[in-house]
Symmetry: none
Subunit: 130 residues, 4 copies
């Protein structure tokens, strides 16, 4: 269940990384689960195989997945990397906004607004346990 915003600011390979990391963070993908073959996923999503390959390559270099020659790509043991992927932009934007002069309280209230909605049930119990 990967959704891409083709019309978009962030590059496709980056969205792809985020989506996959999200599935790992939510526990929908667990250690040693196999990712869809790059070409299959590319076809499903209507994008170029190279773009998927780029995303997979980045995730591998960050230790979030590992690839086995001629077999496929699999989810790594450590979830820390996936977690970092999902939060690094948030962290940077937090720093930028705070650094520019936005008071902490204001950021907190925005965070409250944005995090009041429901999330998918599978997310329950997800912790930063790595």
């Amino acid at each position: 269940m990967i959704r891409l915003d083709i019309t978009g600011r962030s590059p496709i390979y980056e969205q792809l990384c985020r989506e996959i990391c999200g599935e790992i963070a939510r526990g929908l993908l667990v250690e040693n689960d196999r990712l869809p073959a790059a070409r299959v996923l590319a076809k499903d999503l209507g994008i170029n195989p190279n773009t998927v390959a780029k995303a997979y390559g980045m995730l591998e270099r960050d230790g979030i997945i590992y690839s086995v020659a001629g077999i496929g790509c699999f989810v790594s043991k450590e979830k820390a990397g996936a977690y970092r992927w999902l939060t690094e932009d948030f962290r940077r934007k937090t720093r930028e906004a705070f650094g520019a002069g936005v008071p902490k309280d204001a950021l907190l209230s925005i965070l409250e607004e944005e995090c009041s909605g429901e999330v998918s049930p599978q997310t329950q119990g997800v912790k930063n346990d790595d």
Copy 2:
């Protein structure tokens, strides 16, 4: 006192917008204050005049500043725009991370980390009053 990081991540014109909005948010620039001439600022910062022009243009389009032909650019009355500029990326990244499966608690702890440091004294008293 505008600081730019030429090295990567966000484009210079964007950093410039953020810096100016920051000065407005912190009250260092107030209504009807005149901004430095684009060419002068460009020279001071060692960047391309077109880059400054682009930043000014975006800020004007968003109602954060207004320009008077042949005279210069000035800070608008409403601070809401500047405030929105500084927080919209934070808001989007908050939504993205939360939506991807990062629990609220994790975001809060990152926010605490990033906002524990001191900010410039001028920031005191800044509120989301628009």
Copy 3:
């Protein structure tokens, strides 16, 4: 002065990384030196610009170079990354051979054989000072 072995075992982008790291290690490229534009280098070497882009991208992600939007790529301050790039294969092969049962003495004598020749004069004084 970059030499590639097109007929080769190791991928071009990897050879390119090694060559550039070598120039940094030998002091031929120093902090803030500008690398040739990806397209120019590609043309000079008779390879595809994407291949150069891939090499530059990897070097950037490893902090060995940094890119400035629309300007070019430059050598980073830290030489440690370049140094690591040049030695990581050697380290892995050392571990593999030793682990497989080759005695340390045998490896030492091979190392002596291979390192007896002259190296380029510029190399003198190069140290692992990072």
Copy 4:
């Protein structure tokens, strides 16, 4: 006692060759010893029979083992080939690193690091006697 690392870097057939050469170098396999049948070994290791066949084929081509049609594969008299197999990558990487500008001292210290650990007792007494 052959150990394979399915995860990435070197291909399985190559690891297999290294493992077998290692056993020969350490004296665990001696002249005319019979290697396990390809299919049996493949089953034991949980890998594709073709992979074992490829490894055996390469070792035979290098004179490290010899095959008797319909009977099996056996260890050759000369250990030189096995020894060369285990060290040729190390030699090449030594040459590459030194050639690229890494000083001999740096390689020596890496070698010291990697060869400080204990090796299997059987290794004692192995020499470059071919």
